[in-house]
């Protein structure tokens, strides 16, 4: 456990950030506990990076607060020794060597120069440390950024898309490393727009969309939600929907999207693998799962409950099964539902 006077709990309270006409963060509140890895998830433009930058004192909030151990980042006595952050991977002068970049940061952090070589070793960059950082590959830049975050041996780590540019082996290493750090009682917050990227690492999730909190829970609870979605097909869909609504079950037609994953308002390309050529296991679902017209998805219910409602209402059913949504699909549904809810 690293020493220090502040606890590692991150608290975001009623945070609002407006950039001109754009409301980037909209009354966002959540907490991140020490000793756990928390995934901070949302599509691109959801407000994740803005929230992190407010938390780190780089952006002034319009209203509300974001604190670490009850203090604003800029009020921490020696911030880099309490909080390590990785925001953009390429925040270095290209003419400076990787090692010199860290030496400059070590100077401000007030840590010994020997710590530079330690963190270079931890992230596996020792062999390239004396090369100019401008020639680094994306993966090496990412490792350099992580090395910078680790310099002060901080009890809180804030990482924005840390797996960016890492090869599969690097990603696996990062997972293990972050788990170890959390095991030491540190607070780890990782932002990502792909749940599958952090699914094997995180204990908790904070999901936001369009600047608002959508879900804050443990990953296990999210998985339980995923397991409780029912796919049901009826030739008389409207009657089915009415019956389900009457029984108080959250149901929605699934025909607009073949897999019933997204609301109609999410543009193509926002999904996994769409934006930056990222690939993830979420894409593995076969296209043959295309639902027929009349398909309905029911959240938070079992097939038995849905079947009972349909039977009682006398609605004919052609299919009734668990939707077997992956975590990623559940996540996408959560962030896609948000605009519909706002419009309502």
């Amino acid at each position: 456990m690293p020493s220090g006077e502040v606890s590692g709990r991150i608290e975001v309270h009623e945070l609002i950030k407006r950039f001109g006409p754009v409301l980037a963060v909209d009354r966002l509140s959540f907490t991140v506990e020490p000793g756990r890895v928390t995934g901070f998830l949302g599509p691109n433009g959801a407000g994740k990076t803005t929230t992190l930058r407010v938390l780190l004192g780089l952006v002034t909030p319009t209203a509300g607060s974001a604190t670490i151990g009850g203090r604003r980042y800029q009020d921490l006595p020696s911030p880099q020794r309490q909080v390590g952050a990785l925001l953009e991977a390429s925040s270095f002068h290209p003419g400076r060597t990787g090692r010199d970049h860290l030496r400059v940061l070590a100077e401000t952090a007030g840590v010994a120069a020997s710590r530079v070589d330690e963190v270079l070793n931890i992230v596996g960059l020792t062999a390239h440390a004396r090369r100019r950082a401008g020639g680094f590959s994306m993966g090496m830049r990412q490792r350099l950024g992580l090395a910078a975050a680790l310099l002060g041996d901080p009890r809180v780590l804030v990482l924005d898309e840390p797996a960016n540019g890492l090869d599969p082996e690097g990603i696996r290493w990062m997972r293990g490393f972050l788990r170890t750090l959390a095991g030491e009682g540190r607070t780890i917050l990782i932002a990502s727009h792909v749940l599958s990227e952090v699914e094997q690492t995180v204990d908790d999730v904070v999901i936001i969309a369009r600047g608002r909190l959508v879900r804050a829970s443990s990953l296990a609870e999210l998985a339980a939600t995923a397991g409780r979605t029912v796919h049901v097909v009826s030739p008389n869909r409207d009657a089915l929907l009415a019956a389900l609504a009457g029984a108080g079950l959250a149901a929605q037609p699934a025909e607009d999207d073949p897999r019933g994953l997204r609301g109609p308002s999410v543009p193509a390309g926002e999904g996994p693998g769409g934006q930056r050529g990222r690939s993830g296991p979420a894409e593995e679902g076969p296209d043959s799962q295309r639902g027929p017209a009349g398909a309905v998805l029911v959240e938070g219910a079992t097939p038995a409950e849905v079947g009972k409602v349909a039977f009682a209402a006398g609605v004919e059913l052609h299919e009734l099964r668990r939707a077997e949504l992956s975590l990623e699909e559940t996540f996408l549904r959560l962030v896609a539902d948000e605009p519909a809810r706002r419009a309502a």
Binding site: P79, H93, D100, A109
Partner: protein, 272 residues
């Protein structure tokens, strides 16, 4: 607070030492100043034969000698300005402002540190630039049969004042960088102002006696005052210069104004 300021200073100093731009620029400056000073000295040495009038400026005139020896300041001042500007704009350009402000969230301390480090580099640039102008001009003057007068204490005092002027120019650069943030914009502003706007303004304002006093307060004129001589004030209608310390105060005033505005306004903005 003092401890954190010292840490910020050491970090800024390390930033300069771990990049190459500063010594490349200083090397270019020394070459440019040395060559031009030698050329101008030679032109003055050759002048009497070409146009031997009664008021022809002569290298035997101490004011002219002084103006040539201190050429390092008017020729070289753009370099400390650019170095000062770069200390801020490179941070915007390479997004290193993020790690810089993560390391020291009190942004004023970072600006102070950059100002002080740039001031010291400006002093060093002054020593190099004035060394280049004296070192190149004095042999030319001696070889063309004039007295180099390097034993004149007034010349050395002027050289020292000019060095201080170079350091103050570096401070103006830091302020400009903080205000403008964009590297290309800042460099364009410096070049257009120093090569076009100010020379024209000095020329124009000096044309009327009513506006002549204003010209003294232009930064280039104030810097010339620090050197105690200027090639502008040779001839019958020589414009006046301020006292050297007045010139220093004017330059320091520009630096303080720009840094204050930059620190209060632009540097406080969100780093995204």
């Amino acid at each position: 607070m003092i401890g954190r300021q010292l840490i910020a200073l050491r970090a800024e100093w390390l930033k300069v030492r771990t990049t190459r731009m500063w010594w490349i620029l200083l090397l270019v400056m020394v070459g440019y100043v040395g060559f031009t000073a030698a050329f101008i000295a030679f032109a003055f040495a050759a002048l009497p034969q070409a146009a031997a009038g009664p008021v022809a400026p002569s290298l035997d005139d101490r004011t002219i000698l002084l103006a040539i020896y201190t050429l390092g300041l008017p020729l070289g001042y753009v370099f400390p300005v650019v170095l000062g500007v770069l200390s801020i704009t490179t941070e915007y350009r390479y997004q290193t402002l993020t790690p810089t402000f993560l390391g020291e969230p009190r942004r004023g301390l970072v600006l102070n540190a950059k100002l002080l480090v740039s001031f010291v580099i400006g002093l060093a640039a002054g020593v190099l630039a004035l060394g280049a102008s004296v070192g190149a001009a004095a042999p030319v003057i001696a070889l063309t049969g004039h007295a180099a007068k390097l034993d004149d204490p007034l010349i050395w005092r002027s050289l020292a004042q000019a060095c201080l002027g170079m350091a103050l120019w570096a401070g103006i650069g830091v302020g400009l960088g903080a205000l403008l943030r964009n590297q290309v914009a800042a460099v364009v502003v410096i070049i257009v102002f120093s090569q076009l706007v100010e020379p024209l303004a000095r020329f124009g304002l000096n044309a009327w006696s009513a506006t002549r006093d204003i010209a003294e307060y232009l930064p280039g004129a104030a810097a010339d005052a620090m050197a105690g001589a200027s090639l502008y004030n040779i001839g019958a209608t020589a414009p006046q210069l301020l006292q050297w310390w007045q010139g220093g105060l004017v330059l320091a005033g520009y630096a303080a104004l720009f840094c204050l505005l930059g620190g209060r306004i632009t540097l406080r903005r969100d780093v995204t």
